[in-house]
Symmetry: C2
């Protein structure tokens, strides 16, 4: 692992000074290599799939693991899109002449070496590697053992693309050892690795939070709320709540908990509840909600903090915006929350006082997404407050350093 770290650090210096056109050439070469090696990619993936079936991997994971021509097309298209994105590296902003005579600015630079730890989907290999490459970072990838052959086949295409334009093949390294102790080493190599971005289930993330010494850009879960205020437009409330919950269930920006102001609960909850039931959503309500919709199940304490990722919704009647904000700040995972209100002051209070990475007025939580936010591709979502917060695109893979231009200035 140390030799992987040393090689990554060394490559990161080369990438940090690589020109935009060189990085884009490498990306386009990688796209061509994927296209030219379809047969190898499909064969490797087929072997992974056979092993996975032998190991009785569940259907949802098998579905994620599978590559086919259409998915390879999507991978290639994704790489080409990253090549077409603007390069932020080297931008100098906030230039200012200081009274001392020095000219001060901030230069956008890569983070350095980024470790990606992820589970079954092989497309993460190519997405993550290409975003890191575009932003001038070296990458160390550690995918799931069930995708090891697919990931290696993809890695070969990446190496081919890098080599063709003279960039070091160690700019993107895939760890081939499947032993789990390797992860423990990767997340503590502070001498070589600048940031770890995990992509995976809660168990993985929790383990990394406990053991990592390298900073993580991560989100643990997405317990997102919609609060229907006393001053909500009822039609907007219904369509936002239904969309936020039922558009997709297994995503981190889906609503998991609905809060509704007491003054509108009795008029709104029955129709909302029947729309949810029609969609097949199980409702778990507080006492007050149950009294309005008697068919609702009773919510237990744990339901308020649960990310269901399923057609289940907790429902709470609150006295108004104060209780809504307090409830969210207590139970939320700080991912995304939305208020439905026509009262400007309540909207302003909600976005100011709710401490989450995305706060919304009159919009579905499902918009919290790198593509919807215009970041281009997204490498993850951060529910932490430092460095990157919310959807993380290319900018989140960079940092800024201070640059000073002088003409012999010394400090008096």
């Amino acid at each position: 692992m140390d030799s992987i770290g040393v090689a990554a650090l060394k490559s990161s210096r080369v990438l940090a000074r690589a020109s935009t056109s060189l990085k884009n050439d490498a990306l386009l070469n990688i796209a061509s290599a994927l296209d030219g090696n379809r047969r190898d990619l499909l064969a490797a993936n087929n072997a992974d799939m056979n092993n996975a079936r032998k190991n009785n991997l569940e259907a949802a994971l098998l579905e994620r693991l599978e590559l086919n021509d259409e998915r390879i097309d999507a991978m290639i298209e994704g790489v080409r899109q990253v090549a077409a994105m603007p390069d932020l590296i080297g931008d100098i902003t906030d230039l200012e002449l200081r009274p001392s005579g020095i000219k001060l600015g901030k230069m956008r630079v890569p983070l350095g070496v980024i470790g990606i730890i992820y589970e079954s989907r092989p497309n993460v290999t190519i997405d993550a590697a290409c975003l890191c490459l575009k932003s001038g970072n070296a990458t160390i990838l550690r995918g799931g053992s069930e995708a090891i052959l697919s990931n290696q086949a993809i890695a070969n295409c990446i190496s081919e693309g890098l080599a063709r334009c003279g960039l070091p093949e160690t700019a993107v390294q895939i760890i081939k050892i499947t032993d789990r102790s390797v992860v423990g080493e990767l997340i503590t190599m502070t001498d070589y690795v600048d940031v770890i971005i995990p992509r995976g289930g809660k168990g993985l993330i929790e383990r990394l939070i406990n053991d990592a010494k390298v900073p993580l850009i991560k989100h643990l879960d997405g317990n997102c709320h919609v609060y229907i205020d006393d001053y909500a437009d009822h039609a907007k409330a219904v369509s936002i709540a239904i969309n936020a919950k039922t558009h997709r269930y297994g995503v981190c920006n889906a609503m998991e908990s609905l809060l509704i102001a007491e003054s509108v609960a009795s008029s709104l909850l029955p129709s909302l509840a029947s729309a949810f039931v029609t969609a097949g959503v199980e409702l778990r309500g507080c006492g007050k909600a149950q009294r309005i919709v008697t068919s609702m199940n009773q919510a237990i304490e744990q339901d308020w903090s649960e990310e269901f990722l399923a057609p289940i919704l907790s429902v709470k009647v609150v006295s108004g915006i104060d209780e809504a904000i307090d409830h969210i700040n207590h139970y939320s995972s700080k991912h995304t929350e939305s208020i439905v209100t026509e009262k400007e002051e309540n909207g302003r209070r909600f976005i100011t006082e709710v401490d989450s990475s995305s706060v919304m007025i009159n919009a579905s939580t499902r918009f919290a997404d790198g593509f919807e936010y215009g970041l281009g591709a997204e490498i993850g979502i951060s529910t932490d407050k430092i460095h990157a917060r919310g959807p993380v695109g290319l900018t989140g893979l960079t940092t800024q350093k201070w640059v000073v231009f002088g003409d012999g200035q010394v400090r008096e």
Copy 2:
């Protein structure tokens, strides 16, 4: 400690929504309270000084610990300056209408709860508390045991100032328990504390790096370099090198290592060396440097990574800019480095390829400082790459969240 954390988190919600004028009133009240309680401050400090003398605290630390009327004046002036600074909180930038119809922006918000761990100087208590207050953060302060009475007297003034304008006194809490295990608790209270900013010696910082679960904004040391390039203007080279080393010795932005290109070493080193010797600086050189200035001591490996904080300088003759950049990236603490050159390409390469928080062309490293950079007061300097890098002012105590303004938009 848990009750301190809970109180801080609760206060942070109040501060996050406090208006600029309310925060400024509190700061001005604190300034008045310091002025009105001079007698108590001096008496408490006198007791600390007596204890410190009994415990044979070294002279430099005694000097830092001491308060007098002049230092109290400086504290008061500092608080008033923070009150006069612009308030960043609530600023919404990067507003953009997305194709979906949502309006997207970023809102500047406080980090939440900030823990400050520091050693003897009582003025850190007031500086840190006021910067955190201005930026809407709650603070938990843990100062050195030798300053405990002074810090409590200052804390009383802060409480008085907060209470007078109706802000919770727990917005700024000073830990009164001197037991060191308290630090261990503070740096792992991830449920309550968002960031820890340590101010102190290398021993303290190393311990925190090892044990902290809460993210740190910190610098470990400042091993700063000046590189005199083949294309240096000789007069600038001499004045920058002398200033960077001799302006002050005990500061983190002082030069600790001088690199000089071989082609100019024989003409420049003798006069530079005699200027350093006149200033009382001990030189420790590589073999090549010693052959040019025979009176120089021999540098050992450790000298290249050492932050001397003293009139000692390591001197290395390098073949040119490539070796200079490699040496710096290997040995530097990533604080501040400067190149002296008239060749634009070398300047550009240096600032692009040297991986430090401040990189300079033709200027003294001593400029790497919050006041010189126009940040107003500085709460610390970060040599990390994520969140805040270099001098950390008010902006470093804040973060941004995404705000979405909709009119009923849902995801298609």
